[in-house]
């Protein structure tokens, strides 16, 4: 008999741990499968039964970054020793590299648009959140609710006019257009989260600074911002992940120059049919950064996904 009547017994703990562990294993299997498939050869990836153990190859990654053509049958064999390692991999499959694929560009687009919109969103969100947290803004509650309600709209509901607007202004398929759009979509999240973080900073710090002769603006920059830095950082990661993952607007408004990776990755195909190792390689490079960020964010995760409704 334990002393605390409410503490679970060791047996309960063990059984709970086993069940949750099993669930974690099942839930991670698809993710591990994506990563593993990226290192499989074409044959291994469609082998029956599915191969858990296989000889790793960089074929998928090479195919991801290149477009290739079949070697014409009348061409004399080439010497493989003078080739780079990736040319050799392709050559052994009877193909030659035609040109680099679009994946690099699409990944770069995702990065530029993701970081650009996050930076803008953090700037606008921080100052608005500070005003909402500290000042008497007329109609404050209404404005805050208005900001939140913009998130409830199905993106498709405003997609038609945004599509028309972007077309008329020449913003279709541009960095600027996508950055402004993602900033607007993320602003509700950033204002709500940041207001929560700033509400937690005691007002006394600023009052002390104001008495010391700081102006309100200086107090904001030199006293409040350094205090809010963890909150700002975690909010920024949430905005970044959202912009990074967004698909609906990206597929409607971008097609070439500013196309991001999510609409592009599903369109990757090989010389003959779907090239799953290349798709998996593309997905891995795209998803792993988010996994790392999620682990870094774990303390603020709950707060972020509930718009600050639950602060723990």
């Amino acid at each position: 008999m334990s002393f605390s009547v409410t503490a679970p017994s060791p047996r309960t703990k063990l059984i709970s741990g086993l069940i949750v562990g099993l669930y974690a294993l099942v839930t991670l299997a698809p993710l591990l499968w994506i990563i593993a498939t990226g290192f499989k050869s074409g044959q291994d990836s469609i082998h029956y039964p599915p191969k858990v153990l296989f000889e790793p190859t960089m074929e998928g990654y090479v195919n991801l970054f290149t477009t290739r053509t079949r070697i014409p049958s009348d061409q004399p064999p080439k010497d493989t020793t003078s080739m780079t390692w990736y040319e050799e991999i392709v050559y052994k499959k009877g193909e030659i590299i035609a040109e680099p694929s679009k994946y690099g560009e699409r990944f770069l687009n995702s990065t530029v648009i993701g970081f650009g919109s996050t930076a803008l969103c953090m700037f606008l969100g921080t100052i608005a959140a500070y005003a909402f947290s500290r000042f008497k803004v007329p109609l404050k509650d209404d404005l805050l609710f208005f900001i939140l309600s913009t998130r409830m709209m199905p993106p498709i509901a405003v997609a038609i006019p945004i599509f028309l607007m972007f077309k008329n202004l020449g913003l279709n398929d541009t960095y600027f257009g996508m950055i402004m759009l993602y900033t607007a979509v993320n602003l509700s999240l950033s204002v709500w989260l940041l207001k929560g973080f700033m509400d937690e900073i005691p007002v006394e710090y600023e009052e002390a600074a104001l008495i010391d002769g700081y102006t309100r603006f200086e107090a904001f920059i030199k006293v409040v911002l350094p205090q809010a830095i963890t909150g700002i950082a975690s909010t920024a990661i949430f905005c970044l992940i959202f912009a990074w993952n967004e698909y609906a607007f990206a597929v409607l408004l971008t097609s070439g120059d500013a196309q991001t990776a999510p609409p592009f990755i599903p369109t990757i195909i090989g010389v003959s049919g779907k090239d799953w190792p290349a798709v998996a390689a593309g997905a891995t490079l795209f998803l792993v950064p988010v996994m790392v960020f999620t682990v870094l964010l774990r303390k603020h995760l709950l707060r972020g996904i509930t718009f600050g409704a639950i602060r723990k």
């Binding site: 409410t6 709970s16 993710l31 029956y48 698909y247 774990r298 996904i305």
Partner: protein, 315 residues
């Protein structure tokens, strides 16, 4: 030098006056800080929404820019509400919404309940379990079509391994009976951790002392579960359902990549249908009315639900 003087003056002015002066500049600063956000949201959210509402009363088509745009009153709305295909997509959406919510609440709560037993390593497992929900639904949905391949897919293999059914005998996304569940399974895989995290926060908010008091009164474990745990977690659970409900009502990217709305139109959820009407058939006015109906539905359902939620909270 000047600044020092001003500060000295400021300190010597009577409290009421200085507060007034500072209040005034605060007000200006407040507007300066808030207005960019409001302006951007008006430009990219409210203005388009009003435009959608306007278009919904017209016969405008983007692909026929030279045709006269006519005001046709409520005819778009009449056509939508009397269209049997749209009711079918509404049904598909309702099926998706209700089944994902029920399954995710059951599994999510169970997991949270078990994690709250505070076994060794529960933090690490929690972090691992939440990974899927942060990933790109489009990219993940696309990869699940590979896992769902008959014969070579990992999912089909696992099912046949444990049940003995031939792995090539069924196709999750091609079969009319299985496809609606194929999208529920992937959504559940992605979003159960969301419900779990919120339930866990609820469970952790219950003070031990309540259970101790119940233990003193010799209330059974079963009774404690139903009279303490469930009522205390309920507001959290309802919040999770609200978030998931809104998100899944808007569901687009995951399902588009997974099934493309097929087979037939069995998994064509409202958002997917709307996208087709608007950007493939280019029925702009018609699809604007469609968008307004969806928006009003989600907004209406959400506000009724929030009222219920507040009642539970106040209790």
């Amino acid at each position: 030098m000047l600044k020092l003087l001003v500060n000295k003056l400021a300190l010597k002015t009577p409290r009421g006056v200085s507060k007034h002066v500072r209040g005034l500049s605060d007000k200006k600063l407040a507007w300066l800080f808030v207005s960019p956000t409001i302006i951007l949201l008006l430009a990219i959210n409210i203005f388009p929404l009003l435009w959608t509402i306007y278009l919904s009363f017209t016969n405008y088509r983007v692909n026929r820019p030279n045709r006269d745009v006519k005001w046709i009153d409520l005819r778009n709305y009449e056509r939508i509400l009397s269209d049997s295909d749209i009711w079918q997509t509404m049904q598909a959406t309702a099926h998706f919404l209700v089944s994902t919510l029920v399954i995710q609440v059951l599994i999510g709560f169970t997991l949270a309940f078990l994690i709250n037993k505070k076994f060794k390593g529960n933090d690490l497992l929690t972090t691992l379990i939440v990974l899927p929900m942060m990933l790109s639904p489009a990219v993940v949905g696309n990869f699940w079509t590979f896992l769902y391949q008959p014969q070579i897919g990992l999912f089909n293999y696992a099912i046949s391994f444990f049940s003995g059914v031939d792995a090539s005998s069924f196709s999750m996304i091609g079969d009319v009976h299985l496809a609606p569940w194929a999208i529920v399974i992937v959504d559940t895989w992605m979003w159960t951790p969301f419900v779990m995290l919120i339930c866990l926060a609820g469970l952790r908010s219950i003070p031990d002392s309540i259970y101790e008091a119940a233990e003193c009164d010799r209330a059974s474990q079963w009774r404690q579960f139903w009279t303490i745990t469930i009522p205390m977690v309920l507001p959290f659970l309802m919040l999770a359902v609200l978030f998931r409900g809104i998100e899944n009502f808007k569901m687009f990217d995951l399902v588009v990549q997974l099934t493309g709305g097929g087979p037939g139109s069995l998994t064509t959820l409202s958002s997917i249908d709307l996208k087709r009407e608007a950007f493939e058939k280019w029925k702009t006015g018609y699809s604007s009315a469609y968008a307004v109906i969806l928006f009003v539905t989600v907004f209406g359902l959400a506000s009724i639900y929030v009222k219920a939620l507040n009642k539970v909270k106040d209790r």
